[in-house]
Structures are given as structure tokens and as C-alpha cells.
Amino acid sequence: MRSLQDEGIELVFGYPGGASLHIYDALFNQQAVQHVLVRHEQGAVHAADGYARSTGKAGVVFVTSGPGATNAITGLATAHMDSTPVIVISGQVKSHLIGTDSFQETDMIGVSRPIVKHSFLVQKAEDIPMIIKKAFHIATTGRPGPVVIDIPKDVTDPDYKFDYSYPKDIDIRSYKPVEEGHSGQIRKAAKLLLNSKRPVIYSGGGVIQNDASEELTSLVQFLDFPVTNTLMGLGAYPGTDKNFLGMLGMHGTYEANMAMHNCDLILAVGARFDDRITNDPAQFALSAKKIHIDIDPASLSKIIKVDVPIVGSAKTCLDQLLKELKKNESKLDKNKIEPWRKQIKEWRKEHGLNHQMLKDASNSEKILPQHVIQSLYKETKGDAYVTSDVGQHQMFAAQYYHFDKPRRWINSGGLGTMGFGLPAAMGVQLAFPNSTVACVTGEGSIQMCIQELSTCLQYDLPIKIINLNNSALGMVKQWQDMQYDGRLSHSTYEDSLPDFVKLTESFGHVGLKVEKPEDLESAMKKCFELKDKLVFLDVVIDEDEHVYPMLEAGMAMDSMWLDKKTKTWE
């Protein structure tokens, strides 16, 4: 406990149990660290993750051994895939019982091994301060990631005393992340950027994690180049700026995907060319030179061979690159890319997303999910923290809510964890008690961590839950519609859904339900007027709506479905 205080930790999410009782007793006798009691350990890790993503600081979790530890696994895998700094401190059975199949024993180090950046099994109390110092250093530096500290109960015995001191500095001989990019590579990159006629800047979650949005924005504005963000990178560049192409990839905009496919240069920053972006890697942006800035050397040329790999932090490298470009400002010819800009504008005009759908909502028989996101955007003036679960609603939110600031869009991109949204919103709301926090979810996802509504009451968290209710596992249904001749195998509930209004009320919150397009905006307004209350807005939407554009599997990035009948390829 003292080590956590000395590390400056103010907030911990957790759930007590036998093996962590000594730790919880120490928690009881102090005020510096606030503890939030969740209703399920998965919720604790997601909440800490939401806290970490919105603040940039490490999120901390206490769980007990056995089931407490295994319940934390989904949360750890989520944090690992999205590279977020989460520290899980798990109780373990007493040292002499390890390996004997004792009560509530799980090999937490073994179980979590493939989904953590690193882990520690504490062997003696004297090691705790150094291990905690190391854990925070590893979790928050380089490419961030989750760290597990497994502590046997006897090691936290309060009767055992030792000379405590918290280390000031840390040096791990095998772990020294490179911040600065190689100057020769920076020069090469600058030269390619200045010579390009059809450039695209493609930035990912790394820019947000590394607080490099300002540097990215300065660079883009200096060059006046088009820029696209990944699902994890939304908000790194202002979503309402003219240079912004929208999200790219599986459900990216037509213009972003077309630009990627047809460009002659890609500057990738803090992104990892994953399969939801590239589609078939063998057909990916064949006419483009590629520059890739990433703090993780293993991300470079992992999937797509790049011409100029640069190892370093996004913030430092972008700053270096901008300086290098400014030195050569005379060679920057903004007219050179004018035809390219015109082309992108045409693409947008042809098949861009319609951001004015809400205006015509009353002509529609049913509420469309896009209406809901646009109404949410309007009501929150684009300034809310928006968490999301996983599925169609997540994609609609990513497409139609414009994020102008980093750390505002909080979602499980890599692992795609249903159940993430509500607990993540708790972490965000606790970090920013006076800000508006909305959780965009669906009736499928929300039921995976619905128990946290109880936590929200205990800690007065006025989260606004926007439930896009289409009475089906929407994304599963969409794939079944498109690829399995509409055979909806186990993606609907046969009238077994709960009454979400009553359910929310039973948890002590406010529930609202809206079914008609003409009532949507007033319901949304009411939801956000109840400032001090958690409001669950259950929106009955058109159950047949699909998310478009959608990349066709196994093809290049220019092969997209644009609606149920229109595709871009023969």
C-alpha cells in the first residue's frame, strides 16, 4: 500500500477475497488511495483501462487469487491488444501452498503470460517497493501495456516488518525504449514527403498513447496533407478539420480507403497495419512508398514491408520530422497535391458518409442508428467522453461522432471485447467527475457487464448509456445476412430481452425508452438534462440496418460494399 501511495496512485478498482485480505486491511487504514468496489473483476480491469485511456496514467486493479485472477483475464487481454497501461495486483495463495492445488489457487503468472507486457511473482516483502516501481515503469513507457503483480498472502503479512524505502530511479538493463528516431531515416522520410504527389498520413492509437496529437496536427497543417485515423486513433487529429478523411479500414470511409489504395506515399504513425486496415496485405497500397514510425520495433515490417522504418516515440519523431521539413520549406509545393485533393473530394462527394441524416429523421419510419449518434453528437456538442462496446453501434459511433480531441473515444479496438463500455465509462467518469461521459452500447454488449450499474449507484456516477437496441447481435446478424444467406443462427433472443427501463430503475437509476424518430431528439435532451443521474436511454432502432462501407474480405482496400446492393468491384 505504501509503495502505491509513493507512486502517487489515487484510485484503485477491485474486489477483495481471501488471498488479498491483508492488502485490503491496509487499504482500510489510509485515505490517500480511493478504492472502488466493482461487481465483477472484469469490470475492475475495464474501469482501470478506461481511466488509463482517458488520463494517460496507469490504471490499478486489486483482485484475489483463483477466480478473482481469472476473471481479470479478459480485461488484461483487452488492455494488451490496445497497449494500455493497466496494473493488476493479484493475491496468491501462501507461498508454501503454491503448486499444491490449494483452495482458490491459479497459476496467474502462467495464465496471463501471453497477454501481459510483463509480470512479477513477489517472493519476499522486501521486493515489493522495487517491483511496484518497475511495474509502473514498464506499463507506462515504451509501447505501454498491462503488468501483473502476483503476491502470495504470506508476503503481505502485516506482522512482518522490514526497512521500507521506495526507489527513486529505476534501471532495467534489458528494457530501454528508444525515444528518438534515427536522423538519417528522418531525413529520408522528409524527402519522400516533400516529393509526394498523392500522400496519406495514417495515424493510430500510438499517437494518442504517446500524447503526440499536437505534433501530428502541426505536421499535417504544415504539409496540408490528408490524414486518416484508425479506430484506435480517432481524436488524434481533429475530426472536423478539412484534411481529415475519417476512419479507414473495414468500416472506414470510402474516401479514406480509396486514398490509401491509390496513394503514392503512406506516413504511418503509431499504427500497426493490422488486418482490419490492410484487408489482403498482398494487395495493399501497391503503388505507395511507406514510412512507418513506431516505438515497437516488432511492429515495423511485421505485416507490410516498409521503405523507411523509424523506431522511436511518435511525439519525438514527429517533432524531429517537422523540424526537418521546416528546414526544407522552400521545397514544399502545396499545389503539387492539388489534383490529389480534388480526387479525394470527388470520392467524398460520390460515396462519403451523410452527416446530415438527423435532419431527415422524421421522414423515416424507424430510428436509424446513425440518427442516434448524430443526435448524441449534437446534444453533447461533440465534447463528451464516449466509451463504446463492440459491434455495429461501435462502428456507427466511430463513423458519425467527430472527435476533435484525443483520449475522448474509448473503445476495445484490438480484442473487440463486448462488455467493455460501461465499466470503462466508470473509469472515465471517476477521472473526470465534471465531464459528460456517454457509453454507446447495444442490447447484447450491455448485458455482459450490466452488474456494474450497481457500482455506478454506489459511487454516484452519472454516466449516460445510449443503448442501440436492434434486438439482435447486430454485427453477427449483418455477416449472417451478407455471407450466410440470412440464416440467423443464434443471433436473436426470441422476445427474451429484459425491460431495460425497469432493469435500470431496479438498480436505482433512470431509464428512458424511445421508439419513434420524432421523439429521439427530445429523449436525448432529457437524458443529458438529468446531469446528476445515470440515465439508460433504450433506443429501439431499425433492426435491419447494416454498417457500410465494408471491405470485402481477401481483396484490396478499394473493394467495398457501399450498401446492401452496391459494391465497388466487379
Binding site: I109, G110, R113, P114, K117, H118, S119, L121, I138, I172, R173, S174, Y175, D296, P297, A298, S301, K302, K305
Partner: protein, 159 residues
């Protein structure tokens, strides 16, 4: 293509499982693996052989380097290097068998009326041939350590 990767890692519990786990997790194949503490007791040295093209092996070495417990990695296949492994064998004792062992450059380590143990040291290819040659004597058991290697250039795997 067969590749030889050597690395230094922290000599502590869990380190080896992270290295081995990485291979199964990312679908890489380990052909052989040999590990022992170094003269600096805080470090262990591990040599492994694997199959893969340059891009795959480059990705393997990067992923290994990412592990916090791994201090340094060297792809010996990219360097001039020497590699040796040890083979131990158990056969029924006969004068013919004993003669064959010394004929093939091996050393008899133990013998009695019934049994004979011998050792051979060589490259993996040499040991493959020895195993083939000894097959006609119907060995009861053959054990190989896997390849250990060291570079023949100025590049050293030390800290």
C-alpha cells in the same frame, strides 16, 4: 532455412517459459533448444534452432527482444559461427560396437559385459550421419542435446 538464434536472459523463474511461450503463441517452430546459466550467475544463455525465411526470423528476434527478461539476442545465422551438439548413445556391448564408436570418432564413457555408453560431439549434420551409421548396431537409446553456438566474428553475445 535453418536458423540459429542465441540469447542472454535473466536467470530467474519464469524467464524460460516466456521465451518458449512466445514461440507457441506466435506460431513459430522450435527445432532444438539448449539453455544453461552463464559465468555471470544472473544470466542464462539459450541457443535455439528454428526454421523460417528472413522476414519470419527477423520478426522472431524482434519479439524475443521485446520480452523484458531477454537482455540480448543474436541471430548467429547472420554471422560466421560454429555450432556443436553432444550425442549420447546406449548399445549392447560388443567388440564390434566398441570399434565402430572409435571408428566414428566417438568416445566410450562406460562399458560392462552387457552395455556400452558413448559420446559424440559434432555439427548437427555430422551427428545425423553418425546416427545413421550406428543404426545397424541397433542402439537401445540415443539422446542429443541440441545445438549450442558461438559466433566466429568480433560480435559477441555478452553485456
Amino acid at each position: 532455412m535453418k536458423r540459429v538464434i542465441a540469447l542472454l536472459m535473466e536467470n530467474q523463474p519464469g524467464a524460460l517459459s516466456r521465451v518458449v511461450g512466445l514461440f507457441s503463441q506466435r506460431g513459430y517452430n522450435i527445432e532444438s533448444l539448449i539453455v544453461a546459466p552463464t559465468e555471470d550467475p544472473s544470466l542464462s544463455r539459450l541457443t535455439m534452432t528454428t526454421e523460417g525465411d528472413t522476414q519470419v526470423v527477423e520478426q522472431i528476434t524482434k519479439q524475443l527482444n521485446k520480452l523484458i527478461d531477454v537482455v540480448k539476442v543474436l541471430d548467429l545465422s547472420l554471422e560466421a559461427h560454429v555450432g556443436r551438439e553432444l550425442l549420447l548413445i546406449k548399445m549392447e556391448f560388443s567388440e564390434k560396437a566398441e570399434a565402430e564408436v572409435s571408428n566414428l570418432g566417438g568416445q566410450v564413457l562406460f562399458k560392462d559385459d552387457n552395455l556400452l555408453n558413448a559420446e559424440f560431439v559434432g555439427t548437427s549434420e555430422e551427428l545425423d550421419e553418425i546416427v545413421t551409421s550406428l543404426a545397424k548396431l541397433n542402439p537401445m537409446e540415443v539422446v542429443r542435446t541440441g545445438l549450442s553456438g558461438i559466433s566466429s566474428t568480433a560480435k559477441t553475445l555478452t553485456i
